[in-house]
Amino acid sequence: MRALGRPAGDDDRPLIERVRNGDQDAARTLFERYFDRIYNYVYARLGRAEDAEDLAIDTMTRSLTRLDLFHDQGVAFSSWVYRIAHNATIDHYRRHGKVTIVSLEHAPPSESADPSELAVEQLSNDDLRAALRDLTDEQQQVLILRFFQDLTAAQVAVILGKSVGAVQALQHRALGSLERVLQGRPVDGV
């Protein structure tokens, strides 16, 4: 069951103009539109509800109060918000250190397991989230944005500042790394 709501679209522009003119209702609409998505993004990165809550609030505050810095020149508002969330996450890592939480209850299988026999359907959501956090920063981002946030490769490319081809290649490497993490094998670049 996925219930993140509608994907970010171009119809943010009128709302942004209204927020710039001090319209609180428009601010509320944008908050409702993005808060859950940003919370989910940050939670997938950090794995702690308290931190995700604080960073999601911080991201929405920055997004809606610094609209003077947002220039709609080919970059969607949603991409801008995700970038802010990403930067907030990086700041959080710098302040608190990157802590990977791996559930002992869902420990990965042994290295001797056959990769082709990995039963992904049997993996719990927590297993997957914990394994994701063992990937590199870029790999985490691309998988979370593509599969948890339902963004297209083109949208992710804008957020990461990469070409669509680079995002697709990164996604392929990230899935491979995730598979190795789930199999308990060493991961490149971590």
Partner: protein, 243 residues
């Protein structure tokens, strides 16, 4: 055995099926309250913070401060100061805001005292020309004061008498100071100007002391302004009577 592409596609599908983690309702309420407060504060800052408006406000503030500073500095300026003309402006403004006869008398006597102080300062700096102008302005103030006393005596003898008494005391005090300055004056021109100032002060007192006439008003001659601004006006040494 599944190919790598197939395995990764299955993994991708599994990732898509991961349920999103939703924030608690409390977190959302807290979040909106904090965001709303920040948005309101931001709007307030923006409304006060338009660059052009800020520039205009800053320019206006600087102008006001400069004018106020110049006016304040001019209050104690002397006739040889560049700020001295401003002092006259201030004195005229103050005069325009004084309405009762008694208050106007007090104001003119204060200005006469100020002119005498200026004359003393100019004599100390050997600026006899400026000292002469200050003494003329002193006499102008005393003449206007005498005229006020005459008018008051016609409208209300009691008030007129009190004002006359005040003028007499002020002229007596001024005369004592003029005598001292006369004794110190080495320059003949300065000594002559001081003597003339004493004579004219005495004449102003005579005008004030003259009995009030219901058909005529005593009007000593005075320059248009006995203020610092009118320092250059040449006053008549003899009071005149106008109908």
């Amino acid at each position: 055995m599944a190919s790598e592409v197939q395995r990764l596609e299955r993994l991708a599908e599994r990732l898509r099926a991961v349920d999103p983690v939703a924030p608690s309702p409390g977190a959302k309420i807290r979040g909106w309250n904090l965001v709303l407060a920040a948005v309101e504060q931001s709007a307030t800052v923006r409304s006060h913070g338009h660059p052009i408006r800020r520039l205009l406000v800053a320019a206006a503030t600087v102008t006001i401060l400069l004018v106020a500073g110049a006016l304040a500095a001019s209050a104690d300026s002397l006739p040889d100061s560049t700020l001295y003309p401003l002092k006259g402006v201030l004195e005229n403004v103050r005069g325009a805001l004084t309405f009762s006869q008694s208050d106007r008398l007090v104001q003119h006597l204060d200005l006469a005292k100020t002119r005498l102080t200026e004359a003393e300062a100019m004599l100390a700096r050997h600026r006899v020309d400026l000292a002469g102008r200050a003494l003329n302005a002193l006499n102008d103030q005393l003449n206007v004061a005498a005229e006020l006393v005459q008018n008051a005596k016609q409208s209300d003898p009691a008030i007129g008498a009190a004002m006359q008494n005040r003028l007499s005391q002020a002229i007596a005090t001024d005369d004592k100071q003029l005598v001292v300055l006369q004794g110190q004056a080495a320059n003949p021109t300065a000594a002559s100007a001081l003597a003339q100032a004493r004579d004219r002060a005495a004449e102003a007192l005579k005008v004030a002391q003259a009995p009030a006439s219901p058909n005529s008003q005593s009007s000593p001659s005075a320059s248009p302004s006995g203020t610092a601004q009118g320092q250059g006006a040449t006053s008549s040494p003899q009071p005149t009577t106008t109908p």
